[in-house]
């Protein structure tokens, strides 16, 4: 026998190529906002590696702002091209939805991120150290606070410009999160935006022990909650045999009739559905900071560098509520009767818990943290409406709330004493007499938090409560109004403290910021007033954007 013949006994010529794996079809245009930010994040890492230390800060700030602005332009372009309404579609092989809510929230996240990056880049608040300008971040995050290594780093004028790539990665994850159209993408996006945030929390220049403590708490609790989310995803996968939102929704509705007998134990098993869904919900509610998953919020908000807190409080909330809305409205409309009572309970304890505990706070950052918990409750009231008005009101509220939050935290960075930011409330006494403008601006933000008319807080709350009442959640609205009244008490108390009490002799000074923080605060005030005085255009925009693609 010839060699070829022997060989052919155990091989076969590869004439026919094996079953080809079809190349995935990626819609680059529709995904451009995310891709732009991710590309910029990677470039930003390269800048960190190759650009000399001197030029890094300028390069990073320029690159970040440019990328975010370009991504925002892409979002506007997509929305103008009809992808938010008539051409809404599911891109990237079913992984990402390009529709009204996704584009609206991505636009909100990008705008909020741009103004947050301005506060990241602020270098005028602290006096120069050894002749080098300093920002809110440690000279060298890896150095032990107070060590020789750190002193050397400060002397050499090092700065943690790594915060910009980290922020860009986090923003990219946040852009994907509300658009995720299968549970795997949801999980990966969650981790992509959480992991950089854990690190950002740990790199404060002042009070670094507290900052690291905040990071460790955020990290351990965040990892714990994402493990719950993942196990929930596993159970839902067991239930439906797929992680795609559309398929799960079909199985929930009972549209899949022919169940394989071998799968009768799992496929369509309601126990898996309910437990899995509860666990996924717990993971998302952790991210929005709803009671009883809120324990991390005050500590992390207080310990993290204030620019990061502002960014996190605004952008994370927007992204997480987007994901929550999509999950409840796209995947589980067939289960509304099951999730509504649970969400009712969560919304009530969140609104009341946040508002009541905030009264006892003595630290301005903790106060704002509890206020953000209460606001999560108001947003949940809109989510519970389970009507199109519910979606649009939540979208509007998120846009309004994120700018108020970023502005408020930016003001907190200005009030300083020898130890850095003076966050204890007693130090804020009489601020209105010393710096009327800063105190007045902060008062505007507090009034917006409280939901006083003519501010964006009022239009947002009104929209959300109206949607909830129309959606049959009247009792929830009563609780919401009650807790707004409780919350108004402590916001007004801070205003009274600022304007009607005597300034202390050793009180804090108000730093004069550079154009960057001024721009952030101005943007916050302008958005707050415009959305309060003339909200109709934006309400219409949110209305048009309130249809999910399935």
């Amino acid at each position: 026998m010839s060699t070829t013949a022997v060989h052919s006994l155990w091989t076969t010529a590869a004439v026919e190529p094996l079953n080809k794996i079809p190349a995935p079809h990626i819609e680059y245009t529709q995904l451009s906002p995310v891709l732009i930010v991710l590309t910029a994040a990677i470039l930003s890492v390269l800048v960190e590696a190759f650009v000399p230390r001197k030029g890094r800060y300028v390069a990073q700030v320029f690159l970040s702002v440019l990328a975010l602005a370009a991504a925002f332009a892409a979002v506007v372009g997509l929305a103008a091209g009809g992808y938010g309404s008539t051409k809404a579609q599911i891109a990237a092989m079913g992984a990402i939805a390009v529709d009204g809510p996704a584009l609206f929230l991505q636009g909100t996240i990008l705008l909020a991120s741009i103004v947050s990056v301005f506060t990241f880049a602020e270098r005028r608040l602290d006096p120069a150290d050894h002749g080098h300008k300093v920002d809110s971040f440690a000279a060298e995050a890896a150095a032990v606070p107070g060590s020789e290594q750190e002193k050397a780093a400060v002397k050499a004028g090092f700065t943690t410009t790594e915060v910009f790539p980290l922020a860009l990665f986090a923003i990219a994850g946040m852009l994907v999160f509300p658009a995720a159209n299968d549970l795997l993408t949801l999980f990966v996006a969650l981790e992509v935006f959480s992991l950089p945030l854990y690190l950002l929390c740990a790199v404060a220049r002042r009070k670094r022990l507290m900052s690291q403590e905040a990071a460790v708490k955020y990290f351990l609790l965040g990892a714990f909650s994402s493990a719950f989310l993942l196990f929930g995803i596993a159970l839902l996968y067991g239930y439906a045999g797929s992680v795609s939102y559309a398929t799960i929704a079909r199985v929930v509705d009972g549209a899949v009739v022919s169940v394989d007998p071998a799968l009768a134990g799992t496929m369509g098993n309601d126990v898996l559905l309910l437990i899995g869904f509860a666990m996924v919900l717990a993971g998302l509610l952790f991210k929005v900071g709803a009671v009883p998953f809120h324990m991390w919020t005050p500590d992390v908000y207080q310990g993290a560098p204030t620019p990061v807190t502002g960014f996190m409080a605004a952008a994370t909330k927007v992204a997480a509520f987007g994901a929550l809305l999509r999950l409840l409205y796209v995947v589980l409309p067939g289960l509304t009767w099951d999730w509504r009572p649970v969400m009712w309970g969560v919304a009530i304890v969140t609104m009341l818990g946040g508002a009541i505990v905030a009264i006892t706070q003595t630290d301005i950052k903790r106060l704002l943290a509890y206020s953000s918990i209460a606001h999560a409750g108001f947003l949940l009231a809109g989510v519970i409406a389970a009507t199109p008005a519910g979606i649009s009101s939540v979208l509007f509220y998120l846009g309004a709330y994120s700018f108020v939050t970023i502005g408020a935290f930016a003001v907190v960075t200005l009030v300083r004493d020898a130890g850095g930011e003076a966050t204890h409330l007693s130090k804020w006494a009489g601020l209105g007499r010393r710096s009327p403008l800063v105190a007045a601006v902060f008062a505007v933000f507090l009034l917006a938090f409280a939901g006083i008319p003519l501010t964006s807080g009022f239009s947002g709350k009104f929209a959300v409560f109206k949607a909830a009442a129309d959606g049959g959640a009247g009792a929830l609205v009563v609780v919401g109004v009650l807790s707004s009244a409780i919350a108004a008490f402590f916001y007004i108390r801070v205003i009274v403290l600022m304007f009607f009490s005597e300034p202390k002799a050793d009180g804090p000074t108000v730093a004069v910021p550079s154009a960057l923080t001024t721009l952030t605060i101005t943007a916050g005030v302008v958005v707050t007033l415009v959305l309060g005085l003339a909200p109709q255009y934006f309400l219409n925009l949110a209305n048009q954007a309130s249809v999910f693609v399935r």
Partner: protein
């Protein structure tokens, strides 16, 4: 063997991990317990994949491994920096911000 047994094992491992997170005091051990929970998820994914006869679950298990690896990088960086500053990795000692 009936694949459902693997689901029971996954649920058991997940519960052990969750209990460990709540009970243990050392940040590293807490973190290991979180990893145990993620691996329990992987086991559940692979088992469901076998039961449903599609590959989605096995692919997801790969994603989970990558995410868990990234989480280790970030988590150990944070825990080590805390340990170097305080000479303690106990989660009880981290109480500067307690009310």
């Amino acid at each position: 063997m009936n694949p459902v047994n693997y689901l029971y094992l996954a649920a058991l491992l997940f519960t052990i991990g969750a209990a460990g997170v709540l009970i243990r005091r050392n940040a590293i051990v807490v973190f290991m317990c979180v990893e145990l929970m993620l691996n329990a998820c992987n086991l559940a994914f692979v088992t469901f994949s076998r039961m449903h006869g599609n590959l989605d679950g096995q692919i997801i298990a790969f994603f989970t491994m990558v995410v868990a690896a990234a989480e280790v990088v970030v988590g150990l960086a944070i825990i080590v920096s805390v340990f170097r500053a305080r000479h303690s990795a106990s989660v009880d000692d981290a109480s500067l911000m307690k009310l």
